[in-house]
């Protein structure tokens, strides 16, 4: 049974970062006029306190600008600039997440309630896109396993299914004649993958709440899998018995597998996965990097797949 108590500080009381950083201007009255609408409309990026996790890489993080302007989020359109252009229309407060299926304690959580029991951690992770580029992102979040344990999975639960928001009025990619994927966007993990300490639910990055184009307010991060496994703007997490459908697999089963582990030896049917481009590294004359098995997390996760043919279960 979920006991609801009011949050210590409700999100609406937090001063938006954009206002906070311009507090002198605000005091001098320069932005006074625009403020009323800004406050009324939406909670903007708010600073998040978190402790640096030892699971972090010490690689140089991608610039905030690149991480927030070069995104795949097909709900807002197919171009990588579409999310940054259109995602501001997304309303992320209030936000409710259902945790259901084969659990002893199913519940609908307000996002604040879902987060409250957990200490936020900063996880600096490599992120490898199936298209052949990569970033290093300082996520802020908490282990998915904590959330699942709280819901108490039943014996029959073997997989975790995730579902993203469907809201065509705010998501232009969900409107119109040509829609590239079936909505909602769905993803899934095997239960042991979901329970792995590297798997997190992120609510922020770069020390602040997630920008809308990066999957606000809650997204999945599984650093050893291709980026599209990291479902954004999650509204439902279900524990299920059978392997759930996943969006890209449904779109093209021979190209995108359920597992989609980063693997330089298993190419995409149309392009190589042996190398990658690190975003923001060296301009026109940058050298490609060799892609690492499990995106460099082999030591931590290879054991999950020890008996599996990774070419077959790609």
């Amino acid at each position: 049974m979920l006991i609801r108590r009011p949050p210590d500080i409700s999100p609406s009381e937090i001063t938006p970062r954009s206002v906070y950083v311009r507090r002198r201007e605000f005091l001098s009255g320069a932005v006074g006029a625009g403020l009323a609408t800004a406050l009324g409309a939406r909670i903007e990026a708010a600073p998040l306190q978190s402790a640096r996790s030892t699971l972090s890489t010490d690689e140089t993080p991608t610039s905030f600008k690149d991480a927030t302007s070069y995104n795949n989020f097909y709900e807002f359109g197919p171009s990588k600039s579409d999310p940054a252009t259109y995602a501001h229309s997304l309303t992320t407060t209030p936000w409710t997440v259902a945790i259901d299926g084969l659990v002893a304690k199913p519940a609908n959580y307000r996002l604040e309630d879902l987060m409250r029991p957990f200490a936020l951690e900063e996880r600096m992770y490599r992120m490898r896109c199936v298209e052949g580029w990569s970033m290093v992102i300082p996520w802020v979040g908490f282990p998915l396993s904590d959330v699942l344990k709280r819901a108490e999975p039943l014996g029959g639960a073997k997989y975790v299914a995730f579902e993203s928001l469907v809201r065509p009025e705010e998501m232009p990619g969900q409107r119109g004649l040509f829609q590239l994927l079936d909505w909602p966007y769905v993803e899934g993990l095997r239960l042991d993958e979901a329970m792995h300490p590297l798997t997190i639910l992120a609510v922020g990055f770069y020390g602040e709440t997630l920008p809308d184009q990066n999957g606000a307010p809650l997204r999945l991060v599984v650093p050893w899998k291709y980026g599209f496994k990291g479902i954004k703007s999650i509204v439902r997490i279900s524990l299920v018995e059978k392997q759930p459908a996943t969006s890209w697999n449904r779109q093209s089963p021979r190209e995108y597998g359920f597992y989609s582990n980063v693997n330089p030896t298993v190419d995409h049917p149309r392009w190589s996965q042996a190398t990658e481009r690190r975003i923001g590294e060296g301009g026109l004359f940058a050298k490609r990097r060799a892609t690492l098995m499990f995106n460099g997390y082999a030591e931590e996760v290879a054991g999950l797949y020890s008996a599996m043919n990774l070419r077959k279960f790609f």
Binding site: F178, S272, R277, G283, L284
Partner: protein, 221 residues
């Protein structure tokens, strides 16, 4: 009066757009993109962006060169004298696109490039398209038209139909799912080729024989 009824070059020479200007305007996107690339303003993935811009312009010029005949026959707009420039621009852009892919993207790692050509259909068809453009570009001058003779020359240059099919397919094959942009280009290519096929099937011998011949004869003049 339609263009077909007119003698070639019916527009007064003094008002003609100079051929050189087509090249100057045509190379502007390349110059601009390369300039942006060198000054690190091509976004988070500059190599890919540069490749894509160059490839896209190659496809655009290829389609433009194929639009010359239908424009003349349907609208009566005669830009035949610029078709060679459009075709050559397509070739130059394709060459720059290939150079960016081999040189910048793969740093002349021929093993990787070779594997790509044989293993990745999108590269295979892209290379096929370029391979077709090479002899066409090499014969896009008056001397070669004289050497080959108009008939052989125009038959050779019909290979451009295969080049544009391969180029459009190359674009469709590199994207995830079915975003509209490559499909729009493929659609334009289909219309331009479909128009020719329709003329041929409807038995219009004028379209079949006149257009390429006229071009050869103009260059000879």
């Amino acid at each position: 009066m339609t263009a077909l009824d007119k003698p070639f070059g019916a527009i007064a020479p003094r008002r003609r757009f100079p051929k050189l200007a087509v090249y100057v305007v045509g190379f502007a996107p390349a110059a601009w993109t390369i300039y942006l690339g060198l000054s690190d303003r091509l976004g988070p993935e500059p190599v890919r962006t540069l490749e894509q811009h160059l490839g896209l312009w190659a496809l655009r010029f290829l389609l433009a060169s194929l639009a010359v005949t239908p424009l003349r026959q349907i609208v009566g707009l005669d830009v035949l004298r610029h078709r060679r420039a459009l075709g050559l621009l397509a070739f130059y852009y394709a060459m720059l696109h290939l150079l960016a892919y081999v040189g910048l993207d793969h740093r002349f790692d021929w093993r990787v490039v070779w594997t790509d050509i044989f293993r990745r259909p999108y590269v295979t068809v892209g290379m096929a398209s370029f391979a077709i453009l090479v002899p066409l570009a090499a014969t896009s001058n008056n001397a070669m038209i004289r050497l080959l003779g108009g008939k052989t020359w125009s038959r050779l240059h019909r290979l451009v139909y295969f080049a544009v099919i391969a180029a459009a397919l190359h674009f469709v094959l590199i994207v995830k799912s079915w975003p509209p942009e490559p499909l729009i280009y493929a659609g334009v290519a289909a219309v331009l080729l479909g128009y020719r096929l329709a003329r041929r099937l409807s038995g219009d011998r004028t379209a079949r024989n006149m257009a390429p011949m006229s071009r050869a004869s103009e260059h000879r003049a």
